[in-house]
């Protein structure tokens, strides 16, 4: 076990634990957007910042990516932390003014839209955290989407913004997106995502449409499970 202090409290956590988990485990809350249990950490949103003190040096780190260390002094509420977090929140809010998730979080952190950061109107709700791209690559294994161009023009999507034949319509990207940017609509036997319409498979037992046919085909190909076996929904299995 590694021993350290957070806001004056003595805490211990197993080696390899990230500060974020250790701090939350101690009942202290930290706002986050991009840390998600289904994807590897990227440190993209910068909301989870805390101040650490080693010897007599202090610095700001992202708690979701910083492993616990013996003797560390962590401060989650110092002026410095609150200032950095407020600035990050103001910038995120200016980028995605229409995201309800961000609006709510801003309210909780007492952050208001700032006149000095002109609000974007063309970014949707995307904060460019890359979580969707990561889950598509790391977990699903199809890499249908990416972050394209650079700087202010950077956007998430499929190459050339065209219907992707790599996409299997699984919706994992929608699941991990912290801000609700990715649109997925399901009506009856159809699901629409990233501009492409997928045919949904009806469960061979109960008849409920439960997964895109392309996703089942992909799983069958990958795992060698006969397709017919996969055509039964989880409830009927």
């Amino acid at each position: 076990m590694v021993n350290f202090t957070v806001d004056g409290k003595n805490i211990s956590a197993p080696k390899g634990t990230m500060l974020l988990e250790a701090i939350r485990g101690a009942g202290i809350s930290i706002p986050t957007l991009c840390a998600h249990e289904a994807v590897s950490r990227s440190g993209a949103c910068r909301l989870c910042v805390v101040e650490i003190k080693k010897g007599n040096r202090t610095r700001i780190v992202t708690s979701c990516l910083y492993g616990v260390e013996e003797g560390l002094t962590v401060n989650t509420k110092s002026d410095r932390v609150l200032n950095v977090r407020r600035l990050v929140m103001e910038l995120l809010l200016a980028r995605c003014p229409e995201s309800e998730v961000l609006q709510k979080l801003a309210k909780e952190l007492c952050v208001e839209p700032q006149a000095r950061f002109v609000a974007d109107t063309d970014k949707g709700k995307c904060i460019l955290c890359r979580s969707c791209v990561r889950v598509c690559e790391e977990v699903v294994g199809v890499s249908a989407i990416g972050l394209f161009a650079r700087g202010p023009h950077k956007t998430v999507g499929t190459p050339y913004n065209e219907k992707s034949d790599a996409c299997i319509g699984c919706g994992a990207c929608v699941y991990v997106c912290p801000t609700g940017h990715i649109e997925m609509t399901s009506t009856g036997d159809k699901r629409k995502i990233w501009g492409r319409t997928f045919k949904m498979q009806a469960c061979s037992k109960c008849g409920k449409f439960f997964a895109p046919a392309d996703q089942l085909k992909f799983i069958s190909r990958k795992t060698g499970t006969p397709l017919e076996e996969l055509k039964i929904c989880t409830e009927c299995r």
Binding site: V133, E137, V142, S143, A144, I145, G146, L147, F148, A149, R150, T158, P159, Y160, S164, A166
Partner: protein, 160 residues
């Protein structure tokens, strides 16, 4: 169709030259651009397949670097440096001049396919500023007069 075939075949050769591996991706993209003067979609798809890299990753790299173009470009590529040193020596006036003379904006190509206009941020020749790079030639201490002359020369060469 035959064109698509040959683009893919040519791309495969290029990928092979760089070891059929994703570590050579940037070099592959540079070679593709050298060959076709831009990055055709078929080439990117073929390259992704040959390197066993997802198409989305290749497209990320292709759109990240400003040196790559996804649109066909003209025979002569004019790059105006808008870096700090060139900027303070009047690069934006030169840009205006090029835009007016060629009738195109940065990122565009003239109808006769002779010129494409691009802007760059510092080409590393600040002491010569303002700098304009035409194809592979660096033209330092650029003036309005010189621009007319250079464009005239290229037009004449083309007429031969």
């Amino acid at each position: 169709m035959t064109k698509a075939m040959s683009v893919a075949a040519k791309t495969k050769q290029i990928v092979k030259k760089h070891g059929n591996d994703k570590s050579g991706m940037i070099a592959v993209l540079q070679d593709i651009q050298e060959t076709f003067n831009y990055l055709p979609k078929e080439a990117l798809k073929a390259a992704a397949k040959a390197m066993k890299v997802p198409f989305s990753r290749v497209y990320e790299a292709a759109t990240f670097y400003t040196a790559f173009s996804l649109k066909p470009r003209g025979k002569n590529i004019v790059k105006i440096c808008l870096g700090t040193a060139c900027h303070v020596r009047g690069a934006s006036a030169l840009q205006d001049k090029f835009e007016r003379t060629l009738g195109i904006k940065p990122g565009e190509t003239t109808k006769d396919n002779k010129f494409s206009l691009e802007t760059v941020n510092c080409v590393g020749a600040c002491a010569l500023g303002p700098v304009v790079v035409i194809n592979t030639d660096y033209h330092g201490q650029m003036t309005m007069k010189k621009i007319d002359k250079i464009i005239d020369n290229i037009n004449k060469e083309g007429a031969q």
